[in-house]
């Protein structure tokens, strides 16, 4: 008589195990993918064109100079230029529709931090950090894309480079968490 195979060598056990592992890996990969995808925006705003034509970031996101949030442009801000610009594309038509109905554009924020992180743009801009350092090279994007690895280690890596005399303050937990 053949001795029965041990449990871990039976084909059905191995196949079931492989399928379960594959399902978990697939779920993990899908979850990671979902956090890194570009969210659907109401208007496919071409950052590459606007930044490429020399408009400073702070023209549309002026809050970064004086406050915590950079802000997303209002319909009126867009119209400030697009009333003068003759060109009509389907995307600009959408903007004019919002303006005609007196609505604001429901932009979807892309660069977001968790609720327990208190980020302030102003000191970073004042310290001369380029927008592209954290938000990526917008000359290569249409709508803004989330940047990978914006975690605490990444914050502290840059804070540590600011010198030992600033490190005491820049490594303080309460600087960002309160």
């Amino acid at each position: 008589m053949n001795k029965p195979l041990p449990l871990w060598m039976r084909p059905w056990v191995r196949i079931t195990f492989a399928v379960v592992v594959l399902i978990f890996l697939g779920a993990a990969a899908g979850g990671l993918y979902l956090t890194q995808t570009v969210p659907e925006q109401p208007i496919q705003f071409p950052h590459n064109f606007h930044v490429g034509s020399g408009i400073p970031c702070m023209y549309c996101h002026p809050g970064a100079q004086w406050g915590p949030t950079a802000g997303l442009p209002t319909t009126q801000k867009c119209l400030g230029c697009h009333q003068q610009v003759e060109k009509r594309t389907p995307e600009i038509e959408k903007l004019l529709n919002y303006a005609a109905n007196g609505q604001s554009i429901p932009w979807v924020p892309v660069a977001i931090q968790p609720d327990f992180v208190q980020f302030n743009h102003r000191p970073h801009v004042a310290a001369g950090v380029e927008c592209a350092t954290c938000h990526g090279d917008l000359t290569k994007m249409t709508v803004a894309e989330p940047q990978r690895g914006q975690n605490m280690g990444w914050c502290l890596e840059c804070h540590q480079k600011q010198g030992p005399e600033k490190w005491e303050r820049l490594s303080d937990c309460a600087l960002c968490h309160y």
Partner: protein, 238 residues
């Protein structure tokens, strides 16, 4: 010297001789710091949440009684008993601001810190407390809304400290006395709570803290509290 070992910066002075126990500071603190309202039943279980409470003591025999009110909050000890017991370093000492911090996203809710606090200043989120409908518009965006299983306590309104420093930096000047006012001090109708920088000998809080009426709570424990209470007991510094 204690001062050398535990450098102090932010401090508070509470004048018990003029405090009327009106609870305005308690309300202001709850609103500023998104402290949930736990409700009657939870308070009965000892799960009420306050960062600041008013302890009332009666003195004398009826009918000759008079109350004294002691607003009690985290004393921001220089030598804090809560800090060394935290297994995950969620309550740490801020070296730059010299206050005790509670890092909510690090806290795992062991409650060792609250058990080791001689002032009973900490409160624990036993549950996720619902904020009823119109009140959710009051939530302060500058303060994290804590979730279940997290310890919390008075932070000396650290969000206001940073906001004050930000304003000063934006205007290109040094921080002035009175730039940083925590919610309790702002709400106090008789100005019994004074807040400021203890390193500046001319600040209002430093002058008040040098008063002869001053004492600190449980100072025999050697916790080096940053909150000075003023109580003359009718003698006013005699």
């Amino acid at each position: 010297m204690a001062e050398e070992q535990y450098p102090e910066k932010w401090g508070m002075v509470i004048d018990q001789d003029i405090c009327t126990g009106c609870q305005a500071c308690v309300t202001a603190c709850s609103m500023e710091n998104n402290i949930p309202f736990t409700g009657e039943e939870e308070v009965a279980y000892g799960r009420g949440m306050h960062w600041l409470r008013i302890q009332r003591y009666w003195e004398g025999e009826y009918p000759e009684v008079s109350p004294t009110h002691t607003p009690m909050m985290c004393q921001q000890c220089g030598h804090a008993p809560c800090e060394p017991v935290c297994p995950v370093f969620a309550t740490v000492h801020s070296e730059s601001e010299s206050i005790n911090l509670q890092v909510y996203n690090r806290c795992i809710g062991t409650r060792y810190c609250a058990n080791n606090c001689p002032y009973i200043a900490r409160s624990f989120n036993w549950f996720d407390y619902e904020v009823p409908a119109p009140m959710n518009y009051y939530l302060n965006p500058s303060v994290t809304v804590r979730r279940r299983g997290v310890m919390e306590k008075c932070t000396f309104c650290v969000q206001r400290i940073y906001a004050g420093q930000e304003t000063a930096k934006k205007e290109g000047r040094a921080l002035r006395d009175g730039d940083v006012v925590p919610a309790c001090a702002q709400a106090c109708p008789v100005d019994a709570i004074i807040f400021g920088d203890l390193t500046d000998p001319n600040s209002r809080v430093s002058q008040a803290a040098r008063s002869e009426r001053g004492y600190t709570q449980l100072e025999e424990l050697g916790t080096a509290p940053r909150v000075t209470y003023l109580k003359g007991g009718g003698t006013y510094g005699g």
